[in-house]
């Protein structure tokens, strides 16, 4: 009798045991960030002033506008330093296990203002982890604080500055070299993602997306980023994706330009045998 009741209670409590971790931890996912000249844009929120992710998330940066020297992705406090990234390249970070606000910048173009803020929120709940969050100044809710998960209303997105001591990371999240095998297209924001490990273990056991350099799929590159305010594209109203036209069109334009140049040269040579007309009137004066 007692054992049967125990089994029954055990069966009833099984869903709670399984759902419990989901209720107290946000779903980790791979966030998408676009990189252009000279901006970082959170693809989900179309915000270039701040990139907001949850603790445990990864970020895949996609280079949508190329330049020389190429863009990079750097966060000194998190030890993230990508190699040079050409147009169409992607770079996926390891899971971001340290909550706080960090300086995200492009090393070659830092002086040109290619800098933004990366906010890594401490994970506490599930329901609002995937949704864009308004920027509030309410005090943050930190994991492991003993408070019940907050699932309603806007959540704080910019936790108070926290120590930036890097959290211990599992072996599987060690950054890979730049020559990592190109990865497939990263899952779109909002797609299903594996669950994080049980509570009280903030570090995920595995990465969702291979860490390192990859190549964006052509469909992803077809998306036309909005021009930066005040940029040339913005001023002239251009909405054409960079790289949509092959650069070899310069050769065709050169052929067109060569016609008047060679025509003028030919005409000059045909006249070069003519007798000199002497200096102009102004020169004689």
């Amino acid at each position: 009798m007692t054992s049967a009741r125990g089994i029954r209670w055990g069966l009833l409590s099984l869903p709670l045991v399984l759902i419990g971790p989901m209720a107290t931890h946000a779903l980790a996912e791979t966030r998408q960030v676009s990189v252009g000249n000279y901006w970082f844009e959170d693809d989900a929120r179309h915000d270039r002033t701040q990139i907001i992710v949850n603790q445990g998330d990864q970020i895949t940066f996609t280079i949508r506008e190329g330049i020389y020297p190429p863009h990079t992705v750097d966060v000194d406090e998190l030890g993230i330093h990508s190699p040079d990234l050409l147009l169409g390249a992607t770079y996926t970070t390891p899971p971001l296990n340290t909550a706080g606000t960090f300086r995200l910048y492009c090393r070659p173009h830092e002086q040109r203002g290619h800098v933004t803020t990366l906010a890594v929120r401490a994970t506490t709940s599930t329901t609002s982890a995937l949704q864009p969050q308004p920027h509030t100044s309410a005090p943050p809710t930190t994991a492991g604080s003993g408070q019940p998960p907050v699932v309603e209303g806007p959540q704080p997105v910019t936790p108070a500055p926290q120590p930036v001591t890097p959290a211990p990371r599992p072996a599987s999240t060690v950054p890979q070299p730049a020559s990592a095998v190109p990865q497939p297209a990263t899952p779109a924001p909002g797609s299903s993602a594996p669950r994080l490990p049980p509570p009280n273990d903030p570090a995920p056991a595995t990465t969702l997306t291979p860490v390192g350099v990859g190549q964006a799929d052509p469909e992803s590159m077809a998306r036309i980023p909005e021009p930066a305010p005040g940029s040339l594209d913005d001023l002239i109203g251009r909405r054409e994706a960079r790289g949509a036209v092959p650069w070899t069109r310069a050769l065709r334009l050169l052929l067109l330009a060569a016609v008047p140049i060679l025509g003028a040269a030919g005409y000059a040579l045909s006249r070069s045998g003519a007798p000199e007309r002497g200096p102009s009137r102004k020169e004689t004066g």
Binding site: I67, G243, A250, L251, S272, S280
Partner: protein
């Protein structure tokens, strides 16, 4: 602190040789069309300024590219290496033209010498145009 070497240097400086050498080519054409030797001196002065500005332009280009990596590991499917090649070709043609002209009297520039005069300047102009078109692709398109 503002690091001047982190700013684009090649782009603002390249206008000097581009403008001077383009005017040089125009002067060469006008000189042969008009037959006026007065254009020879203008050609020489414009070309002198343009050719002297070329080394500065080349050095600043390598400052902007942060070294020679794009040469040691060239990407032939990208415009940068071809822009550099076209720019160097323009440098060679205009430099050659400038040095060649120093030893030629104005009255000699007829027949075969006129062809060399116009030919070198025109080849330099074509190379300069190619470099400019490729630069436009790099700055505005890729």
């Amino acid at each position: 602190m503002l690091n001047l070497l982190a700013l684009p240097l090649h782009a603002p400086i390249v206008h000097f040789p581009v403008a001077m050498l383009t005017i040089t080519w125009v002067c060469v054409i006008v000189r042969h069309v008009s037959g006026s030797t007065a254009w020879d001196e203008r050609t020489r002065l414009f070309e002198l300024v343009g050719v002297l500005a070329l080394p500065v332009t080349i050095v600043t280009a390598f400052v902007d590219t942060r070294g020679f990596d794009f040469l040691t590991d060239p990407r032939l499917d990208a415009p940068l290496i071809w822009h550099m090649a076209a720019g160097l070709a323009a440098t060679v043609f205009f430099g050659w033209h400038f040095l060649w002209r120093r030893h030629r009297a104005s009255v000699d520039l007829r027949g075969h010498l006129a062809m060399v005069d116009v030919g070198l300047a025109t080849l330099g102009m074509l190379a300069l145009t190619a470099a400019g078109l490729l630069a436009a692709e790099m700055v505005y398109a890729t």
